[in-house]
Every structure is written in structure tokens, then in C-alpha cells.
């Protein structure tokens, strides 16, 4: 078990999901796979948090969902980013950048 796995705050999870879905329509398994891949196995999402988050984002109108056929022929639910979701993603991204900058500034001066 990797020891440097990080815990994700729920707000951050929403943002990550939105970013992944922005790259193209994807089902729940695909999202968890991509998060693992792109973060080089650092981040792993608990399925217990992933699906509630997905359904919540869908209810909020930031994602839209459709049932379709997956690569192996089975029926899966695909999520897409809605225009509202796109705007929300932009807002969250700028927030995150600001926060990250502030934290890193402090870490630098503390040294």
C-alpha cells in the first residue's frame, strides 16, 4: 500500500471530477481510473465518496448523465460537463491557484 497517499477534501474531489469529465464523457470507473493514472497513483478515490459526489454534482446541474455502451459492450452511465459545470470548474480552478500560491509563499518565507 503506497504510504504517500493523500486524503482528499470533499470540495477538492468535486473539482477533480469536474476536471476529468471536462476532458470528455466518462463513466464512474473511468473517472477513478484516470485520477489514479494522471496523479501517478498518488490519489486514490474511495468508491464510497466517488459515487455520492457524482450524483450530487449531477443533481446540482454541473454534470449531465446518459446511459450508453462502454468499450466492452456493457451498459454504463456516462457523465458529461454541462455549461454551468464548466463555469463552476473555472471558478474552482482560480480559487485553487490562489490558495496554492498563498500556501507556497508562506512555506518559502518560513524557510
Amino acid at each position: 500500500m503506497p504510504t504517500d497517499k493523500s486524503d482528499l477534501l470533499q470540495g477538492t474531489l468535486d473539482m477533480l471530477i469536474l476536471k476529468i469529465v471536462a476532458l470528455g464523457p466518462v463513466h464512474g470507473y473511468g473517472i477513478s481510473l484516470r485520477i489514479r493514472q494522471i496523479s501517478k497513483e498518488v490519489l486514490q478515490v474511495q468508491q464510497g465518496s466517488l459515487y455520492p459526489a457524482l450524483h450530487r454534482l449531477e443533481k446540482r446541474g454541473w454534470l449531465t448523465a446518459e446511459w450508453g455502451e462502454s468499450e466492452n459492450g456493457r451498459q454504463a452511465k456516462f457523465y458529461k460537463l454541462s455549461p454551468k459545470g464548466r463555469k463552476q470548474l473555472q471558478a474552482e480552478e482560480s480559487n485553487w491557484e490562489r490558495l496554492a500560491q498563498a500556501v507556497s509563499l508562506i512555506m518559502q518565507t518560513a524557510q
Binding site: H27, G48, K59
Partner: protein, 872 residues
């Protein structure tokens, strides 16, 4: 949140199996994909699946959580919100109690007044098709006299010749002596024309209506009695229909008992007798006796009836030019006649309670705002946990709604007692017996609570959930800026303004009251008793005999030890009651365009001595029906006789065929006969002691307590008039008090509202100031630590409170001046823009504001700087 999900609690439950199935498929897909992954990594299929399922976690758990996401639908959300609201309110009991009590008072008073308005103004009269009932009258064109009674024969003509009415009927009431028992008892008797019960649409509870035979001359003497009379006098005897009563010399059979709820035309009518429609005296076209009520045909409007009756009267005018040519028909919906007079007072009352509720609401908004600020941490946490703004606002609104509902429930208790309060304060209100708590009032209270919840809860909820505030999670109270409280200060200012307006109104009314008390009436009413002796209108057939009888009574009473003087008068002096008539002076040039108008009063010759009104010129007058004598007052002499005393001239009352012209015998001083708040008008006193069979008798007693003579007077009168009952013995001062009962009620109520308003404003000021200082304790502590004097802090806080109060006072004064006109008609001796009242009110409010600011100010000045700075 999509619409479908918002409303979807019903759809949700129908879709549950479908959605469950979908959730299942979605999760199964993921597990299958994980299984495939594991197989590709080299596990055996069953092992792969087991690992996948382990890694995935509890499927049921996830499904449950997913279901939770959808279960936040309106029904469940409401239940959760309610539970949370109750929990929250229980945690802060003093806050909840304060709000609930305030709302109980506000909503309760509002519902109480609404119940009165509903019963009196809104509901139709308690008769079948009550809106089709109208009051009719006849008016002599161009005459100033307000008399509108109708002659019986004309009533029959109207009833026969119209096309828009089902039926019309006439009635009048008079006191009567019932002599069945040992002593004569007074009863109120209503004499009615045919079709009486038909017009009202009510049948007797026991027995029957009058028959045709009984309504004609020569028929049997019968009466219908009221429910109250049946119970009090006959003990609710079931054999009532076989009994008789004696009135005067006649014996009457009882043929019916009316239901308990029927008390028209007057509340204390004991029995109804028919007047024979063909009686000789009822055929005189000038004999105006009746008050007339008519029932229009279904679907007929008042305007149609008015036009129809105008045509009918025109036909009568052609047929009987001498008596009918200049008569107009008056018609007014009966409900309007009954309640129209109190409409303005009731509406003003309603406006006042609504204003009070508004003030209470601003107080509560302030409190809720403070609460919302305190809960910012809680709200911010909920945001970060993913709640939507709508959900939090809904929760806060639910809390407000629960408070409002509790306040309304308590307030309904207040409204329940309202009927009793109204009865105590204003027993003369029409239809007061119909006021009670029914479904409409409860619905109104509910509506009030919803409006209050929205009004009070929405703004604080929206303000408290502004997303930018979530930054406060990281922020401590270190940087509280007092500018955030600007809104609450505005609310306090509004309350102060409203309080000032109400206080100004109450102050004006109180000053009017006081001015009325200081007015010199022009006559002396202390030590004077008034009484009535029963008599019947039939006695007017022998007018001289009637006059002699009354004279005899007056002389006998005057000779009684303890009695100084006696007199009769048609209308009591000082009690508002007008009898404006057109007058013509027979001598000198007649100017037909210049009608003389004067009040006419009918008094016996000793009236002026009895009431101590000085005679200024000439001698007194004497009763003489064939050569009437009159006295005039100084206003009349100055206005119409050009300063000459005019003694010896003759005056005629236009439009009255019963009285011949009278000779002016003297001039008396002015007296405020029309009421203390009216200046004396030119008045003609007709020297006639018998204007009606039962005028007001005035008895001036020697001693201090006039009522102690009551029994003696009763016995004396019984000696000379054994068949008559004496009733309504009371001091004249009681009547003068009663005349202003409505005025007094208004003043008391407005004063009560003003007092409540100022206390609400006081509490509001105290609360806001306390809260603001709590937030700024660090600031205060810093100042003290940096060397500020405690007295300086005290001064600053007091000035803060005074500043807001002053601004509120200015706004309030402007409001009061704007609304001054509505009070103008009820004032006496003060203008609505009276500066002294306003100045006093402002001073009072500033003092109260000072007191309200004192405690928080003292507390702030005693802050321990080290303790506060150390806290965090």
C-alpha cells in the same frame, strides 16, 4: 437542482425501484471493470471478483448514500428542517420565548381586530339574503331636517306600487308599561306594520306570525314576544302560547316567541305588536312614524330600486300634490346603515394593530439577523459539506416559521378574549354579539404567521447565507466592523419613528379629551337627574290633555322636598343630537333664497331655571298649544335678528304642520347643547312640554347625591300615575360621559398602542446596542487599554444610541405630520400639527432611548481590557 428533483417527492417514490435498478447497474459495471482488471493482473476469476468487491466497499452502503442524495426532496427536507428547528429553538429558550411572546401579542391583537371587522363589516347581516335588505326613508327636498320617518299610508302606497321589492315594512319602538303583575314593569315594545317578519325572513321559534285579521282594526289584540323576555319574565314557560299580558287597559294574547338571535329593530325589544293598517290615524299623509326596511327582489340592485321608487314617488306626487310633491325617497343598504358609522374607527384600529405588528416584526428581523451572524461558522461548515444555498435558507425559514406559528397559536388565545374586551370597551358597537372566533379568524392568523415568517425570516436568511461569508471560517472576530450593523440600526430607527407617530396621535387625542373637560358648557349639569315615564303615542290624540298631565307630574315632583326644579326636554343638553330646522321670521321682508337655519329644541318653561341657563332679555315662556311661545338664544339673536332683541316677532318652522308659528318671548344665553365639542348654534327653544308622550324629564335635586332621590321620585310618580312605569333614572352627567364613549375607546386604544410601540422600540434599541457592543468588546478593550477614560466610552455609547433615536424621531415627526389629517375630525381644541405635543413626544422618546442605552453603555465602560484582549 433540477425542478424534477425539487418537486419529485411523489415522483421520487414512484421512480424508486427504477432508480434503484439504475444504481445497481452502475455499481455493478464498476465492479465488473475492477474484476476484469484483477483478472488481467493474474488473479483467478472468483478471487478477482472477491478482491474487486472488497476494494469497492460495501455496495449496500454506497447505494444507501446514493439514495440519500435523492432523498433530499421537499417532504423529507421539510421534516428534517422542522426537527432541526425545534432543536435549535429549544437550545436558546430566552430568544425563542421573547420572539414568540412578541409575535403572540402582535398577531393576537391583529386577529382580534380582524374578528371584529369580519363580524361587523365583512359578513352579511344575519338574515337570509341579508344583502337584499335596505333602509328606506322620505326626505323633504331642500329641507335641512334630518328626519326621514315615513308615514304609514305612504308606506302602503310604496309597497303596493313598486316593482323591485318583495315587501316593505315599517316599525318604531316605544317604552310601554306592562301591568300584568302587581307593579308596572317597563317593556320595550316595537309597533310594526304588516309583513314585518316576511321582510326579515325570520319565523318565530314558537308559535306563528300575525294573521291578516290581527293586522286590521277590530281584530284580536296579539303580541309576539322575544326569547329574552320569554325566559326572564315567563321562565321559559312551555305553555306560553296560552298566556296573555296586560298593557295599560288592554289584554294581549301571546301568539309567538322569536328565536334568541333575533333582536331587530333594537337590541332590547321585548315584544312586537301589529299596528292596524287601516287605523284612522295611520291614513294621515303627514304622520311620519315609521322607520322602514324593505327586502328587494332577488337580483335587484340598489340603484334599480332607487330609480323605481323615485318613479313611484313621482306618481304619488301627482296624486297628492300637497303632501307628496317635494318628497324624495332615500334608500341605503341596511348593512351600511347599521355599521357605516363605525367603519372608520374600526379601520383606524386595524391600521394601528398592523403598525404594531410591523414594529414587532422589525424587532424580530433584528434579532434574527444577530442570530444569523452568530451562526456563520455553522453555515460555512454546511456549505463546505456540500449543502446548497437553497437548503440552508429553507432551514432558516423553517425556524422563523415555527416561531411564527407558535406565536400565532398563542395569539389566537388573545383573540379569543377579544370579544370580551370589545364588549367591555364599546358595548354600543353594532353587531357586537356576532363577534366570535371562527375558521376565518384562524385562517387569518395562519396567513399572518406565514407573512410574518417570510417577512422576518427571508432577509436574515439570505444575508446569513451569502457565499462570501464562508470566508469567515478562517476569519476571527478580530476584524469586526461596526458598519455591518448598519442594517440593524436602520431597523431600530424605523421602530422609533413608528413609535413617535403612534405617541403623537395618542397625545393629540388625550389633549382633546382634556380640552373638552375644560370647556364651559353654558349650563350646569351637576345634581340633575334624568328619567322617563312610560307613555304611548296614542296619547298624542289629545295633545292638550297630554300637556296638562305632564305639567301635573312636573308640579308634583317640584313640590317634593329635596327637589329644586323640574322640566322636560326633547333632547338632553350636552348630548350630541341635532334637530336642525328651517326657520322663517314672519315679520319683515322675506328673502326666499336666504333660508334661516337654526336648531330647534322642545323644552318646558322651567327648563332654563332647571339647567341654570340665564335669561338675557324678556320674560320666560308659558306652554300654550294654540299660541306657541318660543325663546331664542343669543347666537340666534345676533345672527338673525341683527342684534335687536326681536321680542314679539313670530317664528315659523318650515315643513312642520303640527306646530303653528311661535312668538319670541325672550333671549337666553348660549349653551353647548349640541355637545361639549361643538360651539353653540343659533337655537330656537319651543316652549312645549309634550313634544312626545315620553320626553326626557329633568329633575334638579338639592343634595350632593341626586341618585338617592330616585326611590322617592318613583313613589311620588306612582301616586299620581299608578299605571305607568318609571325607568332609566340616571344622573345627567352619566349621559354626558356616554356621549363620548366611542371617543374614549379610541383614545384608550391608541394610548395602549403607543405604549406598546415605545416599549418595543426600547427593547429593540437595547438589544441592538447590546449586540453591537458584544461584537466590539475587543475594540472597547483596546481603547481602554490604550488609555481612554471609562466615562468617554460611556459617552460614546450613549451618543450612539441617542443619535439613532434622534434620527428616528425626525422621521417619526415627518410621518406624524403626514398622517395628521386622518385624526383631524376627532380633535378638539388642538390642531393636528400641534407643536407642543410633538415636542413632548420627542422628549419622551429621547429619554426612553437614553434609559435603554444606559445599561449597555455602563456594561461597555466596565469592560476589563486585559480579560477581553486575552480572549480569543
Amino acid at each position: 437542482m433540477s425542478w424534477r428533483n425539487f418537486l419529485g417527492f411523489k415522483r421520487g417514490s414512484a421512480k424508486k425501484p427504477a432508480r434503484d435498478a439504475q444504481l445497481d447497474s452502475e455499481l455493478r459495471f464498476h465492479i465488473d471493470a475492477l474484476t476484469d482488471e484483477n483478472i488481467a493482473a493474474g488473479m483467478s476469476p472468483p478471487e478477482a471478483r472477491r478482491q474487486a468487491q472488497l476494494e469497492f466497499g460495501g455496495r449496500e452502503q454506497i447505494k444507501e448514500e446514493l439514495r440519500d442524495v435523492y432523498r433530499v426532496q421537499i417532504f423529507d427536507a421539510a421534516k428534517t428542517n422542522l426537527k432541526a428547528a425545534f432543536r435549535f429553538l429549544r437550545k436558546s429558550p430566552s430568544f425563542s420565548i421573547a420572539v414568540i411572546l412578541t409575535l403572540a401579542l402582535g398577531i393576537g391583537a391583529n386577529s382580534a381586530v380582524f374578528s371584529a371587522i369580519d363580524a361587523i363589516l365583512l359578513k352579511p347581516l344575519p338574515f337570509p339574503e341579508g344583502d337584499q335588505l335596505v333602509k328606506l326613508g322620505q326626505l323633504r327636498r331642500n329641507a335641512k331636517s334630518p328626519q326621514t320617518f315615513v308615514a304609514p299610508v305612504r308606506l302602503e302606497d310604496w309597497n303596493r306600487m313598486n316593482t323591485t321589492f318583495q315587501a316593505m315594512t315599517g316599525y318604531y319602538t316605544e317604552p310601554e308599561s306592562e301591568t300584568t303583575g302587581e307593579l308596572p314593569e317597563k317593556v320595550t315594545r316595537a309597533l310594526v306594520s304588516p309583513r314585518f317578519l316576511q321582510v326579515w325572513g325570520v319565523a318565530p321559534a314558537i308559535g306563528r306570525d300575525f294573521t291578516d285579521q290581527e293586522e286590521h282594526v277590530g281584530g284580536p289584540d296579539v303580541v309576539i314576544i322575544s326569547d329574552r323576555y320569554w325566559r326572564n319574565r315567563f321562565g321559559a314557560d312551555p305553555q306560553i302560547l296560552s298566556r296573555k299580558i296586560r298593557m295599560g287597559t288592554d289584554s294581549h294574547s301571546i301568539v309567538g316567541v322569536m328565536p334568541a338571535s333575533f333582536h331587530f329593530p333594537e337590541r332590547d325589544v321585548d315584544l312586537w305588536s301589529p299596528i292596524p293598517v287601516d287605523a284612522k290615524i295611520a291614513q294621515i299623509r303627514d304622520a311620519t312614524w315609521y322607520m322602514v326596511v324593505g327586502r328587494m327582489k332577488p337580483g335587484v340592485t340598489v340603484d334599480q330600486a332607487r330609480a323605481n321608487l323615485a318613479t313611484v314617488q313621482a306618481q304619488l306626487a301627482q296624486q297628492f300634490p300637497k303632501s307628496d310633491a317635494d318628497l324624495d325617497v332615500l334608500i341605503e343598504p341596511l348593512k351600511e346603515t347599521t355599521v357605516g358609522g363605525v367603519r372608520q374607527s374600526l379601520l383606524i384600529l386595524f391600521g394601528s394593530v398592523s403598525l404594531l405588528l410591523l414594529i414587532a416584526c422589525t424587532n424580530i428581523v433584528s434579532l434574527l439577523l444577530a442570530r444569523a451572524t452568530q451562526r456563520q461558522h455553522e453555515i460555512a461548515v454546511r456549505y463546505s459539506l456540500g449543502a446548497s444555498r437553497g437548503a440552508i435558507v429553507a432551514q432558516l425559514l423553517t425556524e422563523a416559521f415555527v416561531l411564527a406559528l407558535a406565536g400565532a397559536a398563542l395569539g389566537l388565545l388573545v383573540a379569543w378574549g377579544a370579544a370580551d374586551i370589545f364588549r367591555a370597551l364599546a358595548a354600543n358597537l353594532p353587531r357586537i354579539e356576532e363577534i366570535h372566533l371562527d375558521a376565518r379568524v384562524v385562517l387569518y392568523a395562519l396567513a399572518c404567521s406565514i407573512v410574518v415568517a417570510l417577512l422576518c425570516g427571508l432577509f436574515p436568511a439570505l444575508r446569513g447565507t451569502k457565499r462570501g461569508l464562508s470566508g469567515s471560517l478562517a476569519q476571527s472576530s478580530r476584524t469586526q466592523v461596526s458598519g455591518r450593523n448598519r442594517l440593524q440600526w436602520l431597523l431600530v430607527g424605523v421602530q422609533v419613528a413608528l413609535a413617535v407617530t403612534l405617541l403623537a396621535g395618542a397625545g393629540l387625542l388625550l389633549r382633546s379629551f382634556e380640552a373638552l373637560g375644560r370647556v364651559s358648557p353654558g349650563f350646569e349639569f351637576a345634581h340633575v337627574l334624568t328619567l322617563h315615564i312610560s307613555a304611548g303615542w296614542g296619547e298624542t290624540a289629545n295633545i292638550n290633555g297630554l300637556s296638562q298631565r305632564i305639567d301635573r307630574i312636573l308640579d308634583t315632583l317640584r313640590a317634593t322636598p329635596g327637589v329644586e326644579n323640574t322640566a322636560t326636554t326633547m333632547t338632553l343638553p350636552g348630548v350630541p343630537g341635532q334637530f336642525t330646522t328651517d326657520i322663517r321670521i314672519l315679520e319683515g321682508e322675506q328673502d326666499p333664497n336666504h333660508k334661516l337655519v337654526a336648531e330647534s329644541r322642545f323644552v318646558s318653561h322651567a327648563y332654563f331655571d332647571t339647567m341654570r341657563i340665564p335669561t338675557l332679555a324678556g320674560e320666560g315662556c308659558r306652554e300654550n298649544y294654540d299660541a306657541i311661545q318660543v325663546m331664542v338664544n343669543r347666537s340666534f339673536a345676533d345672527t338673525y335678528l341683527q342684534g335687536q332683541m326681536g321680542i314679539g316677532k313670530h317664528i315659523e318652522m318650515i315643513g312642520n304642520s303640527f306646530l303653528k308659528s311661535g312668538e319670541i318671548k325672550g333671549v337666553v344665553a348660549d349653551a353647548r347643547e349640541l355637545g361639549m365639542n361643538r360651539a353653540p348654534a343659533p337655537t330656537v327653544y319651543w316652549c312645549w312640554n309634550a313634544p312626545s308622550p315620553d320626553p326626557n324629564y329633568l329633575v334638579r335635586t338639592v343634595g350632593d347625591q341626586p341618585m338617592t332621590m330616585a326611590q322617592t321620585l318613583r313613589q311620588k310618580i306612582h301616586e299620581i300615575e299608578p299605571g305607568r312605569s318609571v325607568f332609566d333614572i340616571s344622573p345627567l352627567s352619566d349621559h354626558l360621559d356616554d356621549a363620548f364613549a366611542e371617543n374614549r375607546m379610541r383614545t384608550v386604544l391608541l394610548a395602549f398602542f403607543a405604549a406598546t410601540a415605545i416599549s418595543l422600540a426600547c427593547v429593540g434599541l437595547y438589544g441592538t446596542l447590546s449586540y453591537s457592543l458584544t461584537l466590539r468588546r475587543r475594540e472597547v478593550g483596546l481603547r481602554l487599554a490604550l488609555g481612554a477614560a471609562r466615562s468617554e466610552i460611556l459617552k460614546r455609547v450613549l451618543l450612539e444610541g441617542a443619535g439613532v433615536a434622534a434620527l428616528g424621531c425626525i422621521a417619526g415627526c415627518l410621518l406624524a405630520l403626514a398622517f395628521a389629517r386622518t385624526l383631524a375630525g376627532m380633535l378638539f381644541g388642538v390642531t393636528p400639527y400641534d407643536p407642543i405635543t410633538l415636542a413632548t413626544v420627542v422628549a419622551l422618546v429621547l429619554i426612553v432611548a437614553f434609559i435603554a442605552s444606559l445599561i449597555p453603555a455602563v456594561r461597555a465602560a466596565h469592560v476589563e481590557p486585559m480579560q477581553v484582549l486575552r480572549e480569543e
